[in-house]
Amino acid sequence: MLCDICGKNAATVHLTEIIDDQITELHLCENCAREKSVQMEQQFGLADLLAGLAEFGTPKEEKDVVKVKCANCGLSFEDFKKIGRLGCSECYITFKRYLGPLLKRIHGSSQHTGKSPVKVGKVVKKKSNLEQLHNKLQRAIEKEEFEEAARIRDQIKELEKKGNHET
């Protein structure tokens, strides 16, 4: 089988792309594959996929970010892109701007709604509830679901009132 791009060399890299329900197959020689993506050179593992996603979330003019290191553990964004794993919990703060879009891409959401550790105080919980409601409100307004928006606004008011009473 010959390469789909150059039509000269034997195709050794086979790509299957699924977008919605459309399946396209691409057969490439190593040279064209390398040109198409540097990541194809080696085995395409989870780390590469994640790195690819992270890259996608990084605006071009901010490529310096790869040099930024986590002050707590010393992991750089470049390291993360190479190994696909973060170094410690503080990395999530250091690389917050870039991890937000990445998490959204992986999970379809970047807002936790599940349980929280026993040790995390009530304050954080309340704050997170409020933040969530504000996000919801924003979404409802964007979708022009005004009745829902009004309902959420009332919830926010109530929560804020409760907070004021307690402090």
């Binding site: 989870l46 994640l50 707590n72 553990c73 992991l75 190994i83 696909g84 794993r85 973060l86 170094g87 410690c88 919990s89 503080e90 999530y92 703060i93 991890l99 990445l102 998490l103 992986i106 999970h107 379809g108 959401s109 970047s110 807002q111 936790h112 709604t113 599940g114 349980k115 929280s116 550790p117 026993v118 040790k119 995390v120 954080v124 919980k125 704050k127 997170s128 933040e131």
Partner: protein, 352 residues
Amino acid sequence: MKLNDLINHTSEWLKGTGPNADIVISSRIRLARNLDKVPFPHWADKKQREESLATIRTSLEKSGYLNKAVLLELKDLDNVDKQFLIERHLISLEHAKSQDSKAIFIDEEEILSIMINEEDHLRIQVMQSGLNLFEAWNIINTIDDALGKELSFAYSADWGYLTACPTNTGTGMRGSVMLHLPALVFSRQMNRVLAAIAKLQFTSRGFYGEGTEASGNFFQISNQVSLGHNEEEMILNINGLIRQIVEQEEAGRRALLTQDRVMLEDKIWRGLGTLKSAHIISSQETIELLSLIRLGCDLQIIKNIDRRTINELFILTQPAHLQKLEGKKLSSEERDLKRAELIRNKLRAMSF
């Protein structure tokens, strides 16, 4: 409790009880947890990893969970021990690979296990027989809270529990269900089912989890997304999906019985014949034939043989289990002989 005590004990997940136990072998929930600000195991140096292990060990002692359990360091285990734990679904392949400051906690009933210093500082796992995700969640939620009183877990209000790999961030939860789907495989419907699963952002693996192929018609289905929904919602989603697959398998089994009964019975009885008479048998052939026998029992074609015995045989015939039973190392050829002998003896004890 010692590691070798496990061999004479049936793991909770193999008991063959619980809802839909004819199709659903077991339900499993795992939570990924990390210590706040402490480097994740892959990024930590040896001293930091040792410290994490010590901190977690102390918290397990304080919580009282260690009383009826065992905490083993991987460096103290030989290859057969490690393979033995993989076969019982207590540790991952990755956990067995390198052994620096890694440990495994196992409770007496083999319901709760905790991998320490795997990809995350803690990988807590609870297993149940049958389709029992909610029960598994209740158990693991309590344990998580108890450990959370002792340990400071890495957590952010926006992103939930923070994990080494961003694919686990959020709840850090993965729910997995092990299904036995021979009818869907025989009727060539499995590709359709797997495609649907992938579309819904679930993933399917083989009997031994990540990176293993489906064999013996077993499929392990789990959620991929861990952020955006709370734990109960995620479990409801998995449960709903599994129920649909179970219904499809049931319909497939009914169709097999009405349309291909003679063929099916022939296949099952021949399978049983082989298992009862073989003197040399590989683990691959064993798992394929046991799958047939299990279907025969579920469909009441074979009577007087209980599900639990077959479930146990799936595990006891695995390489490390055979070596543990014999109490010595066995070559691949020796294992094929011992495996056939074990199966003959177990099946001879029953009348058909």
